[in-house]
Amino acid sequence: MADAPEPLVGIVVASHSAKIAEGVVELAGQMAGPEVRLIAAGGAIDGTLGTDAGKIAEAIARADAGAGVVVVADLGSAVLSAKLALDMLEPQIAARTRLSGGPLVEGAVIAAVQASIGDDVAAVVAAAEEAAHMPKDVS
């Protein structure tokens, strides 16, 4: 619950593009409010397009407030880098980190809002993955 002092689940946005990661963090932050730790991990270490496990690991550590972290990733090798990142983290942080196979933008927004109301890491990652079926009225 939002009025409890317990830590909230954090969110890491891992994208091949730093601009995409930052933009998604901005959007999800607008929806969820300032209480949730939302960290962008975009681009390769030299700033080009790509992903970097070290950058993602650092973002996970910053996003973790004690309640765990959900990582949303864009394309295949971002997921691979996120998996590598888990091996670089302290075991207790890695153990409470979940990778979402859901979409990047919708998953980050939905996850951030559910995190903001105090959902646990299992519920937040489930919501991030269900975001693949987020309704969009295109009629």
Partner: protein
């Protein structure tokens, strides 16, 4: 006992994007189990504390919704949801 209120959504966009997030965050302040139904579209009831579920109700501007709460703070929950609807689901609603 369950408390319920039938409300009209009178903002510009219905319960999408930030207004939907505001709705969910307000519902989550209460211990009561809270559901929302879209009476106009015949959808729900669904969990009012799930953004995906609320978005799935497809609530557009002008739709009528039914909000129900069951739990120790159900009366306060319904009062808060009614106030939220009356104000058009503002995104700057204080959270506590």
């Amino acid at each position: 006992m369950t408390q319920s209120a039938e409300l009209e959504v009178r903002n510009d966009v219905g319960l999408h994007a930030r207004p939907a997030a505001t709705f969910v965050k307000t519902a989550a302040r209460f211990k009561a189990a809270i559901t929302i139904s879209n009476l106009t579209a015949g959808k729900g009831p669904v969990n009012a504390k799930s953004l995906l579920a609320v978005l799935g109700c497809g609530v557009a501007s002008g739709h009528r919704i039914m909000v129900s709460a069951e739990g120790e703070d159900e009366e306060a929950a319904i009062a808060a949801m009614r106030t939220l609807a009356d104000r058009g689901f503002p995104t700057d609603m204080p959270q506590n």
